[in-house]
Symmetry: C2
Subunit: 207 residues, 2 copies
């Protein structure tokens, strides 16, 4: 183990622990409701130590948002892995479902950020997201022109996909309540994923 690795390691490890705790507290309480004391307690470090790594609560929040933003972009790229609408949509919806399932906490932080009017990621909405939507809308329009999809407005399709997949993170607790207190099993989740994919694809089929 060479020197810089260890040196980085202490910082990297502590930042990871703090970020993970922050994710949980932000997801449960929102930005204002989260206290640095609670995050520090969950991370198992003194509050002053947390402020040593992340100078302000806002900076810590931004770091959490950036983490899920990266994951969002990764999932978004799966849309481009095929030029067949059924395959592309199935992949993309599946990736977004998996994101909600594997990162429910950061997904909820993300959803809250959007709902509050995107105070931190407004720039992302106006640039990267707008571009992504414009480009993929063109692809969907081409599929429609080729008779592979019935005529729809692509934007409303994306909204439906974002909403439905995100819901499996946002409303996980509600779903658990409706399953008599048992969280959705892996098997149930896979069934839900399949149904979402099939419903949307069937819903877009040309007449």
């Amino acid at each position: 183990m060479d020197k810089p690795l260890i040196k980085v390691s202490i910082r990297a490890e502590n930042e990871r622990v703090i970020l993970e705790a922050a994710e949980a507290i932000f997801a449960a309480a929102g930005f204002k409701g989260a206290t640095t004391a609670a995050i520090a307690a969950r991370a198992g470090v003194p509050k002053a130590n947390l402020h040593y790594y992340f100078p302000t609560k806002a900076a810590l929040y931004r770091a959490v948002i950036e983490r899920v933003l990266t994951a969002w972009l990764a999932a978004a790229s799966s849309f481009d892995e095929s030029d067949d609408p059924r395959e592309a949509l199935a992949r993309y919806i599946g990736a977004k479902m998996d994101l909600a399932r594997s990162m429910p906490l950061s997904s909820r932080v993300w959803a809250t950020e959007i709902m509050r009017g995107a105070p931190v990621i407004q720039d992302f909405l106006d640039t990267a997201l707008a571009q992504w939507v414009a480009e993929r809308s063109r692809i969907v329009q081409r599929w429609i022109a080729e008779g592979k999809l019935r005529p729809i407005e692509p934007k409303y399709l994306f909204y439906m996909i974002w909403a439905t997949t995100q819901h499996y993170a946002n409303a996980a607790h509600e779903m658990t309540s409706l399953e008599n207190g048992r969280p959705l099993s892996d098997r149930q989740f896979e069934a839900a994923k399949r149904q979402v994919i099939e419903t949307i694809i069937a819903g877009l089929a040309p007449p």
Copy 2:
């Protein structure tokens, strides 16, 4: 104007003004982020007056939640206005879309409450909502048995409807950003509503 009407009027009117302000502040900032001072300022009353009508912030929050709960139940009842799946679903989805459009603020408060694990409406989830879902699931199952819908799990259909419709309240700001800063017009919203209804209904059609 008889006496009790006026007497009730002062209280009723002030409660209404405060509730409306509370809705906006809770929607924008979350429960913890909302301050009674901000709510009072928006309502145009001194903070002490707010506490005269609603003793605690939690009580005020509960009142806001109850208001949207009533609206939720009203929309839910539209599912039962027809026994034809296409008509019942179209009505229900339309009602839920209209709810998100006409009450975006309380809808966002509702969504936050669900996302935070329903600290206030857990009882509703376990009783009224569970019952509603169970009963309507049976109806959907019957439609499937009658060959009117392809085989699906009703719960995941409801999740899709709730998520998609709720999204038009939750993500209104995001949509505005993607429309170059212009909020969805009534015309666009009606088109979105139609597309959501048609996509879901087509997605459920038997093969």
